[in-house]
Each structure stands twice: as C-alpha cells, then as structure tokens.
C-alpha cells in the first residue's frame, strides 16, 4: 500500500511513529483508525511504555513483522468516546490497553479468561484484525479498542508509571499467581533486573514473599536492595554465592530473553521448586534432567495474562502503590531510547510522553 492509502484505510485520521523496515528506525507516520464501533472504546493516548518486544518487532527479529509497524502495547490514555453497547467505560475515564486487542471469545482458553492463550488472539500491533486490516499500536495519538481488551486505571496510579504494567506488569504477575509463588514467607528469585524484573520484585514483595535478585551485574545490587526492596542479591557468576543459595528458593521468575544456562538456576530451587521463564530465548536451552528428577522440580513458561487478570493486576498495583520505575522521553527521542534499550541502559522502562510530545 502506498503511504497515502494508510490515511484512507479507516474513517478517522491518526498520527504516530512507525518502523518502515528491518532497520527498526522509527519516523512520523500518518494513518487512520476505524470508527468507534458499538463495543469500542476510543481514547486519546497520553503515554506509551517501550517494551523490549517493540524493539524485537521493529527489527523483525521474530520474523512476523509487517511494515509500516507502529509499536506500543503499554498504552494509557483518556476516553473520548464509547460505543452504544459499552458498559464498563465512560468518557473521561483513564484506561489502558496492553498486548491484545482481540480473540475468538469461544475457545476453551477464552472461556477461561485466558485470551492470551487463544489460538486466534490478535496482538495490539503488526497483526491482522477481524476486518482484515493491520493493527497499529500505542506510539500514536489515538487508540480504538474493543471494550473487552481495555482496563480501567484507578485514580491513584500515575498514568506514566502505570503504562508499563500493561505488559511488563501482567507478564510477571500472572506466573507469580499461577505457579503459587505468592504466599507470604516463600522465597522467590528474580533473574534479570530490567523492565520485567524490577516490577516482579515489587509485586513479590507486596505479596509478602522474600525476594532474591539474581543478576550478572554487581552494580545493580544497591538499587535492588535499597530502592526496590529485594531481600538479597546474587551475582550469577559468583560461584560461592550461588553455591550457598543452592536449594533455597520456592520459585524463580526468569526474565532473561538471551540464551543463558538454566542448570544453575534449577540448582537454586528447593525440592519441587519451579523455574518460570517469561523471557523467550529463541534457541532451545540445555536441560540437565537428573537435577529436575532428583528434586521433583519444574521448568515452565508464561506469557502475559488474560484480560480479567490484567485488571486484577492493575487493581493490586493500585492498592499497593506499585508502579514501574520509568524514564519519560519525548516522541522524537524514541530512536535514541531504542539504542539505549538495546544496551540495557535504562532504569527500568522508557515511557513516551505521547500527550505532550507527539506532534504532527
């Protein structure tokens, strides 16, 4: 499609920044959004978090990106219009949209509030919507989404710092609950102190869990202990430290998406402990079976969460005053931010101030 036809695809004009090719470099992009359907919620985007997935997708690292690609699935804003059949939202509400904007609503997963595992789930960007058009994400001025995939942001949560919860937050909240790693007194390890990891520490502490951060960077120790409230810090290359921690953890949330050894992590688990991967290394990892069997241990995975649980997570965050630690940037700094993100140079999420800095 020529550039002009993106503007004419749908009835209302929209503006955002898009990647045009695998370089992943983003630039201004005029496009359009559908009319507000009877079940749709339309909102003015105020902030959008930069998830590491946005970087993977902008560069087509997973092989299914469609260009032009408007990233962004940690989107918050204010409702400007609701469709006639919308029940849960009204104009003026502060709302958010995460990684999903559609699902089949009829399979076993959808019936169990697990839209994230629906074989026909529709991603917020670079996916094919019900009407055959491509979805565009939150690095844009307005969003229109089916009510089912919109969550309400409670008044006491600052919008900019709440945005990352819509992906990072639910991605770590869901496995803490599902794998029963949320009981007071338990000991949970968090591997990797980035966007996902730092929120995992906050959620786990709020659940009454003892938290050990496991990281390759000794420089993150003070932050982890003093600022995030972790109980202890393990440097994964410190053999003595790792040895002393063997068999001490009920579970580990592993947020690292690069290839890395999991055997040392399995060693840290107690008998019947659970290692849950939420980062997704592309290549298979080596699994030594003996320790898994001798300790009755588990290696599992988890991906975001369903809509009901996403709202539950936001409400839990609001009750416990949990938000992400962010660096707010202007829209036109997004490429620089992406480069810094690639090097892990951010504490701990960039959030684009769409409302104030996205200008045509």
């Amino acid at each position: 499609m020529e550039d002009k036809s993106f503007e004419e695809e749908h009835p209302t004009k929209a503006f955002g920044w898009a990647a045009r090719d695998q370089s992943g470099v983003l630039s201004p992009f005029k496009f359009s959004r559908r009319s507000t359907g009877e079940k749709d919620v339309r909102f003015k985007v105020l902030f959008c978090g930069i998830c590491h997935s946005d970087l993977h997708m902008a560069k087509n690292e997973w092989g299914f990106s469609t260009y032009p690609l408007v990233p962004g699935h940690e989107i918050v804003g204010q409702v400007t219009e609701v469709g006639s059949k919308v029940e849960r939202f009204k104009v003026g509400d502060k709302v958010g949209v995460g990684c999903l904007v559609g699902s089949c609503h009829s399979c076993d997963s959808c019936s169990s509030n697990l839209e994230n595992y629906c074989p026909e789930m529709i991603l917020t960007y670079s996916a094919k919507y019900n009407d055959g058009t491509i979805t565009y994400g939150g690095y844009s001025d307005i969003m229109v989404a089916d009510e089912h995939f919109v969550v309400l942001i409670p008044e006491n949560l600052p919008l900019d710092a709440a945005a990352p919860l819509l992906c990072a937050g639910i991605t770590v909240y869901s496995p803490l609950r599902f794998f029963d790693l949320d009981k007071p007194g338990m000991h949970v390890g968090v591997v990797g102190l980035g966007g996902l990891g730092h929120v995992a520490v906050k959620f786990a502490k709020a659940m009454g869990v003892k938290v050990t951060v496991i990281s390759t960077s000794p420089s993150k120790k003070q932050e982890a202990l003093d600022h995030l409230g972790a109980d202890s810090f393990l440097v994964s290359r410190d053999q003595d430290g790792m040895q002393a921690a063997v068999g001490t953890m009920d579970g580990i949330i592993d947020t690292v998406s690069a290839t890395h050894p999991i055997s040392p992590l399995i060693g840290l688990l107690k008998t019947r402990g659970k290692l849950v991967l939420v980062g997704a290394p592309v290549k298979p990892l080596e699994l030594s079976v003996f320790p898994l069997i001798m300790g009755g241990k588990i290696v599992g995975g988890s991906g975001i969460g369903g809509m009901k649980e996403t709202q539950e997570m936001i409400d839990f965050a609001a009750r416990n005053n949990i938000t992400a630690d962010i660096e707010v940037i202007s829209m036109d700094s997004v490429n620089t931010a992406m480069e810094r993100l690639l090097k892990g140079d951010v504490r701990y999420r960039f959030v684009i101030d769409i409302g104030n800095t996205l200008k045509i």
């Binding site: 076993d108 997963s109 697990l114 595992y117 599902f178 999991i262 055997s263 008998t271 019947r272 659970k274 991967l277 939420v278 997704a280 290394p281 592309v282 298979p284 990892l285 080596e286 699994l287 030594s288 079976v289 003996f290 320790p291 898994l292 069997i293 001798m294 300790g295 009755g296 241990k297 588990i298 290696v299 599992g300 995975g301 988890s302 991906g303």
Partner: protein, 362 residues
C-alpha cells in the same frame, strides 16, 4: 583395614554383583547386619530388573561403586522382626523399593517425602550410616528398617508386583502430584517399556484417555488390545504427530535415552504438563517458546515416599494392576541385561530369586 564384604556384618548373604564397569554380574558372597529393633529381615522371593540396575551396573551415571549388588524391586517373606516392629510379623509378604533409609527428621521426611530427603539412602550403591555399602535385591536376604518396607496386598502375585516397587511408584507419584487423575483427560505416554506399560494401566484406572507414543509401530496391537490404551501414535510419523498437536493434557515421558522434547511439547494443550522420568546421561534440549506461548511445563519426579508407595500398591490391588513380567533364573541375568539394553522385554524381567539363586552357587 576395611573388612571384606563377607566379614563386614554378622550374617552371611549371597547374591550376584557387578564387579566393574562392564556391568557383567557374577556370584558374590557378602553379609547382612543383625536385625535391629526397627528392622525386618526378608527372605527374597523375587526381584525386578529395573533399567536403572543396568545404568548403575555399567557406571553410566558416574557414581557406581563396585562390587555392586543391584535390585530395588524386591518382594519377599519376613523371617525376623525387631522388638519395635508392630506392623509386620514373620511370614508376611512384603516389598522393598528404591530406598532403605532417610533422616526421618527433615521437612521432607515429615511430609512423607522420604524420596526427597537430602540424606535418603538408596537400596544399593549407597552408603549406610555405619559406612558400609548398601547391597540390593539380587540376593537371598535383606535387612531393612520397617519404615521402608511395604505390605504386598494379598491378591497381588509376587512376581507381577515386584516391578511396582520402582516402576509403579515412579509413574503413580507424578500422576497424583501433577493432577493426572481427572477422568476424561488425555494422557500421552512416551515409551512402552517397564514404566510405560504400568503407566498405561494406572492411567486407565484413573479414567483417563491414554495414547501410547512410540517409535515402534509393532507395539501398537499390544498397546491397544492387551494394555487397553485408547490410541497409539508413531512418533516418527510427522503427519500423525501433527494431527495430534495440542490434544493432550499431560505427557509422561519414560524414555531414558537422549531425545528431542519439542515434538512432545507440541502435543500438549495450553497449560499442558510433560513429566520426564527417564535418566539420560546427557542434557536434553528444551525449547522455551512453546512453554511461554502455551504456559506449558516440564517437570521431573523421583519415585515417591513410603506412604504413597503403599497407597500405590493398594490402588493397584484394587484395580488388578500388576506388571507384565518375564520371569528369569538368576544365572540368566546377564543375557537379560543385554536384551533389556535393546528393549527386548515385555515389559520387565523379574528374577525368581528363591528358586534359582542358591542353585547358582553350585
């Protein structure tokens, strides 16, 4: 200087042992301890040949000590009981499995999970508290702490019951722990050997739909007609495997060789669980995307505690489940081991110890 195996303990014993990493077994004279206040002395009738016996005899896992008397699927008759032993009496038919002791004081022992006690002692190739080696069931007698002895239900045949003491509990325990007991759910079983065939029987008794997944299409009739599996999937038929993608709630993987997990993970539904029970010498490759995109998990399990082992035997008795066995004489053990290495057995060898061991001394 350390005493010889024959002199180590007061009571003479005879068995067959592996003397080196060739794994070849031959007659071996040794001794058993006095029957202590907590102990039960057992005249061994039958002992199952577990694949672990083969791995251990050949030091495939790297921690074998020779001479080694294998055997941890033991059925026999009580000949003596210690003064604190209330639950057994002479002539009771009893069994001993994979463990003969644990610390009895840690959180795992307190939860009836002696199998996960850090100080658990294996029935053979391990060290007793007195520093002597444990010797297993390829022998005429064994002396065991009563806590690690189970009662064989009256209705069970001794030979068919022996393999349940390892193979049986090895599949029963994770089936309970991972919730594979909901009637109507779909269980896949990879590998139709000692573990696999018992898993089929127990799975059917739980009311599950059972699919046997095997690389040998020749096992299909057996699986369906005799063992009662509902379907059979040939794992190296890509089209059939693809048709079965996303259809199973659980998979029990009994294969002990190194093998790919990815095809089996694809067979699981969302939230599906794969429990791996075989002990390959090298690591397996674990793809992560399927785990994350489908919230699937891979778990391990190691036998079961003593309470659960008794529960398993009682369950099997109630459902008329015993292992399918080929009974052999003691002096046929080396041939049996060779056949076992080629999976040429339906589905467990069991040594008729009582009737053939003493003859092998001559």
């Amino acid at each position: 200087m350390a005493k010889s195996p024959e002199e180590e303990h007061p009571h003479k014993a005879f068995g067959w042992a592996a003397k080196d990493t060739s794994g070849i077994l031959s007659p071996f004279h040794f001794s058993r301890r006095d029957n202590g206040v907590e102990d039960v002395t057992i005249k061994i009738l039958y002992c199952g040949v577990c694949h672990s016996d083969l791995h251990a005899a050949k030091n495939e896992w790297g921690f074998s000590r020779y001479p080694m008397v294998p055997g941890h699927e033991i059925v026999g008759l009580v000949t003596k009981t210690g003064s604190n032993v209330m639950k057994f009496k002479v002539d009771d038919r009893v069994g001993v499995g994979v463990m003969v002791n644990s610390c009895k004081s840690c959180e795992y022992c307190h939860q009836d999970l002696e199998n996960y006690c850090p100080q658990m002692i294996f029935t053979y190739n391990a060290q007793n508290h007195d520093g002597t080696k444990t010797y297993g069931g390829y022998s005429d007698t064994i002396v065991v702490d009563q806590h690690f002895v189970v009662r064989i239900p009256d209705s069970m045949p001794s030979d068919g019951c022996a393999p349940l003491l390892c193979a049986g509990i090895t599949v029963y325990s994770p089936m309970k722990y991972y919730g594979m007991t909901e009637p109507g759910k779909h269980l896949g079983i990879v590998g139709l050997g000692g573990l696999g065939h018992v898993a089929v029987k127990i799975g059917k008794a739980f009311g599950l739909k059972v699919t046997v997944i095997s690389s040998s299409s020749r096992k299909e009739r057996e699986a369906l007609d005799r063992l009662g599996a509902d379907s059979f999937l040939v794992s190296n038929d890509p089209a059939k495997m693809k048709a079965a993608f996303g259809t199973m709630d659980y998979i029990i993987d009994t294969v002990s060789a190194v093998h790919a997990l990815a095809p089996y993970l694809s067979l699981l539904k969302t939230n599906g669980k794969l429990v791996t029970l075989g002990l390959p010498e090298k690591p397996l490759e674990l793809p992560i995307f399927p785990l994350v995109l489908g919230r699937k998990l891979v778990g391990g399990s190691d036998v079961g505690g003593m309470k659960e082992t008794q529960e398993m035997l009682d369950f099997c008795a109630k459902h008329n489940i015993a292992a399918d066995v080929e009974v052999i004489q003691m002096d046929q053990i080396n041939t049996a081991m060779e056949r076992l290495a080629k999976s040429d057995v339906r589905y467990r060898f069991v040594i008729d110890v009582a009737n053939s061991l003493s003859q092998s001394q001559l």
